[in-house]
């Protein structure tokens, strides 16, 4: 028997058996699976340990009675049922919706105007965009503290200007200490911080619309309003939806601004869900109940995330 026949024999004997499943497996795993798996492994590990596991653990905890340092006791839907009839929780839900809706609507309008203005024949466009983006880049804690100081009743600059400089009011307003103005004030700060993100995103969208479309519309005799309706709006529709949903999630979960400015006060007037969650967890030490507060809106949040993810992937696909 020559070597080549042995080889041939081995090949026919072992070849299909040994290579077949491996090739099939490799094909199933994908042509780049070695480097792909290697590159994605750290992300997978971190996402599993830092997000997926805690998230599942959160759902489990919400069905338990759990205090800090004590093992959880399973109580079924007790926490959720209790919350449903809790006046403080109901108020936090309503406040969260007012806070979110008020903030997002104004941010949307301001951001849109900002983007439209910056696409007209404005000079130093990059200067304007650069400066207007600062509230969004600056640390939130700094912005919140700045406004805490600006809103100060006796020494704050806002009351000083309204009363002493412009004589618009006979006396100062307790911006953050009066229930009537506290919510408007925290919404105002959230808008101040968040509108640049809307503006800059819309600007990016507007600049992606080809100029020929406007020219064609103008040739067809469409005025500015018609052009806005039929060229601009369809052109940035996706971005508007994405930015709005993204901001809705962020605003609804904004902890810092409300926590620093009012801690949910006065008398619960600005109590929102994230701050309420924190207070139940670390003020009252009731972790199980606290996590139920955070998760109560999960179905709604999940719906927003699914729609948002759909649009973000769609946006990606076109790019």
């Amino acid at each position: 028997m020559s070597i080549s026949t042995v080889e041939l024999g081995l090949k026919t004997a072992l070849g299909p058996k040994r290579e077949g499943p491996l090739v099939g497996l490799a094909r199933m795993l994908g042509p780049d699976h070695r480097l792909g798996f290697l590159f994605i492994l750290p992300t997978v590990v971190l996402v599993l340990t830092l997000v997926a596991y805690p998230f599942c653990y959160a759902i489990y905890l919400s069905f338990t009675r759990k205090y800090v340092g004590v093992p959880p006791v399973f109580v079924g839907f007790d926490n959720y049922v209790k919350l449903t009839f809790d006046g403080f929780f109901q108020r936090a839900v309503i406040n969260s919706f007012i806070f979110t809706f008020g903030s997002v609507t104004v941010k949307l309008v301001l951001g849109m105007v900002m983007a439209l203005v910056l696409t007209t024949g404005i000079r130093w466009r990059s200067f304007w965009t650069g400066v207007l983006l600062i509230p969004w880049v600056a640390p939130t804690v700094v912005s919140a503290l700045n406004f805490l100081w600006i809103f100060d009743y006796s020494l704050g600059v806002l009351n000083y200007m309204l009363v002493k400089v412009f004589h618009l009011l006979p006396h100062g307003v307790g911006w953050l200490s009066e229930p009537g103005t506290a919510m408007a004030s925290v919404i105002g700060v959230n808008i101040w911080r968040g509108f640049p993100f809307f503006g800059i995103s819309f600007l990016a969208g507007l600049r992606a619309i080809p100029a020929e479309m406007y020219e064609a519309a103008a040739v067809d005799g469409a005025g500015p309003l018609l052009r806005f309706r039929h060229v601009t709006l369809p052109g940035i529709r996706n971005i508007v939806i994405i930015v709005m949903l993204l901001s809705t999630i962020w605003t609804f979960n904004d902890f810092q601004i409300v926590y620093i400015l009012t801690r949910g006060g006065p008398g619960g007037a600005t109590q929102v869900i994230p701050v309420f969650t924190y207070e139940i967890a670390f003020g009252a030490q009731r972790l199980g109940e606290a996590i139920a507060v955070a998760l109560y809106m999960l179905p709604a949040l999940a719906a927003v995330i699914i729609v948002l993810a759909h649009y973000m992937r769609k946006g990606r696909g076109r790019a």
Binding site: D32, F55, T140, V141, P274, F282
Partner: protein, 279 residues
């Protein structure tokens, strides 16, 4: 003629809008800077409201000498820099894999990264706190360095996926035809091209970590181990606090971010528009 007038009016309106927006945006920063140079007495008497007179540096001296501010600054630097390096390194290779390589589960993992990016920290902070305690990382900067990638990695990955997708595939193919391995093509051709995107992503990860408040508030109880956001805000829960040194702290907390931003604004704006909301 009428049309020219309307156009000019529109332009004037545009500038008017931008200038008023500019005032609203810049004023709080101006105000904090002015306040940081005012003496306690001047603030109380409401004289020379819009300019410090005399200009004093007491607030900065008090802040740096008599509070834990310097330690907090150091903590913030350690936490932000380490978690940024971690997130950028892991996020970059992850994004490349998801954007370019073909392997089983890629589509599922892209969706997972996106959804992870959208899960809010207000849901995760309690279970993460429990986990950090079990690992013995409660009350340590290590706990924060470990936790921050939970929001920076999905963000960096998502942003850079867009960036990698915008680099023509032909460049890698050409390199591989010339004999480079897949990894070689990534390292020598794609990575240098993606450098501006990686830089932007890193900067965002840095500003997000520098900004983070909730985890730092919950995980850390030792005063000396606080990060800047929590440390600064803890001034207002103390019985006696002066706006002067609080604002001095605010100025010093903003500076690193603003300096980075001024130098790298172009990349940041580009990165933001390329990454998070391309549509």
């Amino acid at each position: 003629m009428n049309k020219g007038f309307a156009a000019r009016l529109q332009l004037a309106g545009s500038y008017g809008f931008l200038v008023s927006l500019l005032v609203i945006v810049v004023f709080p920063f101006y105000w904090m800077t002015v306040t940081s140079f005012k003496g306690e007495e001047q603030m109380r008497s409401l004289v020379s409201m819009f300019w410090p007179s005399p200009v004093v540096t007491d607030n900065y001296r008090h802040l740096l000498g008599k509070t834990e501010f310097v330690a907090w600054f150091g903590n913030s630097v350690i936490v932000s820099v380490s978690s940024t390096f971690l997130a950028t390194a892991i996020g970059t290779i992850g994004a490349y894999a998801l954007a370019r390589l073909k392997f089983l589960g890629r589509a599922f993992m892209s969706s997972a990264v996106l959804i992870t990016y959208l899960v809010p920290p207000s849901i995760l902070f309690i279970p993460l706190y429990a986990q950090i305690r079990t690992l013995g990382l409660a009350d340590s900067l290590g706990g924060l360095i470990a936790a921050y990638p939970s929001f920076t990695i999905p963000f960096v990955t998502w942003l850079l996926m867009g960036y990698f997708e915008s680099i023509p595939v032909e460049l890698e193919e050409a390199a591989m035809i010339d004999g480079a391995t897949r990894f070689g093509a990534f390292r020598r051709i794609i990575l240098p091209l993606a450098a501006p995107g990686v830089l932007a992503a890193g900067l965002y990860a840095f500003t997000q970590s520098w900004n983070e408040f909730l985890y730092a508030l919950v995980f850390i109880t030792n005063v000396k181990l606080r990060t800047l956001p929590v440390g600064l805000s803890s001034f207002i829960t103390g019985d006696v606090y002066g706006w002067g040194y609080l604002m001095a702290g605010a100025v010093l907390t903003t500076l690193p971010v603003i300096v980075a931003y001024i130098y790298l604004q172009k990349y940041m704006v580009e990165g933001l528009t390329a990454g998070s909301v391309k549509g």
